[in-house]
Symmetry: C2
Subunit: 424 residues, 2 copies
């Protein structure tokens, strides 16, 4: 029986994202943040994230610099079929490899084109040509395969920049291969979500507990839209001991934050709301003005949400508020569309239209225009409730349109989960 010796040594990683689109600001690099999270969960420490253009010299400089700083270099981008995609030939040259046709990859690419019923041209065939010194990483979601190189004890992995393809590759191939290669220590996490208490006050509340945490367990604060997520992460060569230590620290933490605890599971706010509704076997609808569908989107992004979520009326125009949601003409004219009375009536209206047990309503001025002295940009009313009781709250936000929409949706879900908890 083989005993794998797991190492406590810290493995450093660098991410190199390649593509001119990252340097002209056309694309926000969400890939790096996702990869950072996944590496972190696997016990690999991300040390640097670098973005460079589709330029040979810069790719080579980056490979040299990053491999001086890290043992694992994850590379994304530049593997497409067009002329500006040069990552593959540059890597082949850097690792002294020849590009040869990889039959298995060619079969995959051919199948994809057959399934799409599209003719395959030379450019597409070429995507299956790969450096002869690399380990090919299958792309289950697209045409460009990934490549795993080893040089001077360092690992280099090249993947497509398409987020969906990269994510599949990292999850199903790259992380398991890294785990095996480095014999990483076991890493595990416990996560809970609080609401109604700020980061600094929470820190005061748990200061003694934090000071007494064993050295191999670390705490992170993750504040987001009126909630703070606390995550403890432990690292140990012994899996059983790690579980015991984490459980012990976590159960003490739960007691300390019990007054603000939303969930002791690692789930999102829309999932918390969904879980509460499933437990009660009750249903939810939404009536959105200023969030314009974003709240419904967060709720329906959760698989299985159709079991408790029935739908929404997005009443962007006042006549939809009036005719579909029965918000009174008088309220709209005197109090206005952004008012406590309006969101309360929107809750009642959408409960009637959809026949659900609970509803959320939002109305506000998200900017950049539409504000007034009395109701400046950022003024938001949110109401949550059921047939018997509706709670409304006013917020004043001071961000841009996108962020104001996101924050409003977050606050609305938080109000709903609190309301649901008070019903039981």
């Amino acid at each position: 029986m083989i005993q794998i010796q797991r190492r406590m040594e810290r493995i450093n990683a660098s991410i190199i994202t390649i593509g001119d689109e990252l340097l002209i600001g056309q694309v926000v690099d969400t890939n790096s943040a996702w990869m950072a999270q996944e590496l972190n969960k696997s016990g690999i420490w991300l040390r640097r994230r670098l973005s460079i253009g589709d330029v040979k010299e810069e790719i080579i400089t980056a490979l040299e610099e990053e491999s001086r700083q890290a043992s694992v270099i994850l590379i994304t981008g530049g593997l497409g079929p067009t002329a500006d995609d040069i990552t593959k030939p540059v890597l082949a040259e850097y690792f002294g490899a020849r590009l040869v046709m990889h039959e298995e990859s060619l079969r995959r690419v051919t199948q994809i084109f057959e399934r799409l019923n599209r003719p395959m041209i030379e450019r597409n065939r070429k995507q299956a040509e790969l450096p002869d010194t690399c380990t090919v990483i299958p792309n289950d979601r697209g045409t460009a395969p990934g490549m795993w190189f080893e040089k001077n004890g360092k690992i280099f992995v090249s993947m497509p920049g398409v987020p969906h393809e990269m994510k599949g590759m990292v999850t199903h191939y790259v992380l398991p291969m890294l785990q095996q290669h480095f014999e990483l220590p076991f890493i595990d996490h416990r996560t809970l979500l609080t609401s109604g208490i700020g980061e600094s006050f929470l820190a005061e509340q748990i200061a003694d507990w934090e000071a007494n945490l064993p050295a191999h367990i670390k705490l992170a604060y993750l504040p987001n839209y009126g909630t703070v997520r606390l995550r403890i992460t432990g690292m140990d060569t012994d899996k059983g001991r790690l579980k015991k230590d984490l459980d012990e620290a976590f159960s003490k933490l739960i007691v300390l934050v019990k007054d603000w605890l939303v969930t002791a599971e690692d789930i999102s706010l829309p999932e918390v709301v969904g879980k509460l509704l499933l437990e009660k076997q009750e249903t939810l609808s939404t009536a959105e003005s200023c969030t314009g569908g974003y709240l419904a989107h967060l709720i329906t992004a959760v698989p299985g949400s159709s079991a408790y979520y029935k739908g929404s009326v997005i009443s962007y125009a006042n006549d939809v508020k009036n005719q579909v949601l029965q918000v009174s003409e008088e309220t709209l004219q005197t109090a206005g569309a952004v008012s406590e009375e309006t969101v309360r009536q929107m809750v009642k209206g959408v409960l009637a239209v959809t026949g659900t047990d609970y509803a959320i309503a939002t109305s506000g001025i998200m900017g950049p225009s539409g504000g007034s002295t009395e109701k400046p940009v950022g003024t938001v009313w949110i109401a949550v409730g059921n047939r018997d009781n509706v709670v409304a709250e006013k917020f004043t936000l001071r961000f841009d349109r996108t962020r104001n929409i996101e924050i409003t949706a977050g606050f609305a879900l938080n109000m709903m989960q609190r309301f649901l908890r008070q019903q039981s």
Copy 2:
């Protein structure tokens, strides 16, 4: 009269973002994309973007490496009042400076605290201590001033990581100072959007044109959900000549891609739909099942969308489809919720409910569960239309839930813009 000699020499920049939160994936780096756009528009070429942690050695390594590659190094983050914010003392050390109280900055910080009616503690006072060798950049939106250093002909600018504060500083101080310092060449872009043709086929179509582009004009492909954006970028010391060359290349490109052209402006698909509606002075509503509000969200994320978008009925449950949108019980039972008949009736229903001129409807199975042999996960029906005419199309997607929702919304907007164009 002073003649500024503009230089064709390319000024390269690097961005260094500092903060542990960037390395654990807690925060998506949106600052870099914004700064990249602004630099680019000013004729400064962003060569590298690097994110590192709040670690002295790594900050110093980054300063050295990036100043070898670029003439301008923009640094954000690590200027806050807490213990992990070490950027300022590290920079002072790196540039051989002493931290001294900057009276003007102290006055500003004091004013901010007075205005917020909050007590000012030593930590806050210390934010006004600045290196004695830097040019101080005022922060009109927060407490941490920016710093401009020059060393060996290179410019280093340190700014806070708070997006709103950094943006004010870049726009009002840093870019004008850089323009003056470098006498930059002019940079300009032309962008168009195509639909209904893949990246590789488009590349074939315009290969000759691309091969004949002058050296100072570059082409980029930006594919996204069934559309491909093409952008050409030119650089010249003569503004008039640059405009002429770009216009000439762009008008040839437009002719080559005319069969697939959506817009010759640099706007998104929701903006294209909005623009067409504004021109016609007509209105839009949506009826969403599988996209669950995401389509409405994309439409309402555009500032000013309330001028043409009236709202949506998100009919996640069949009884909402039936009772609010008047999809017939018979259709729901025989053809089913994911069918051509259903989406056609959803269009008619939401037109009636909202009184708009046009509507879009979606219904599909986004996964991971809910599929059947006859209608597997990824089956989607989309309809677009007005009172006289409705067009419906079926798609079969093969991604995960999130991506299926995004792609469906993209396809739906694309069908709508095509429909709107055919009406004129």
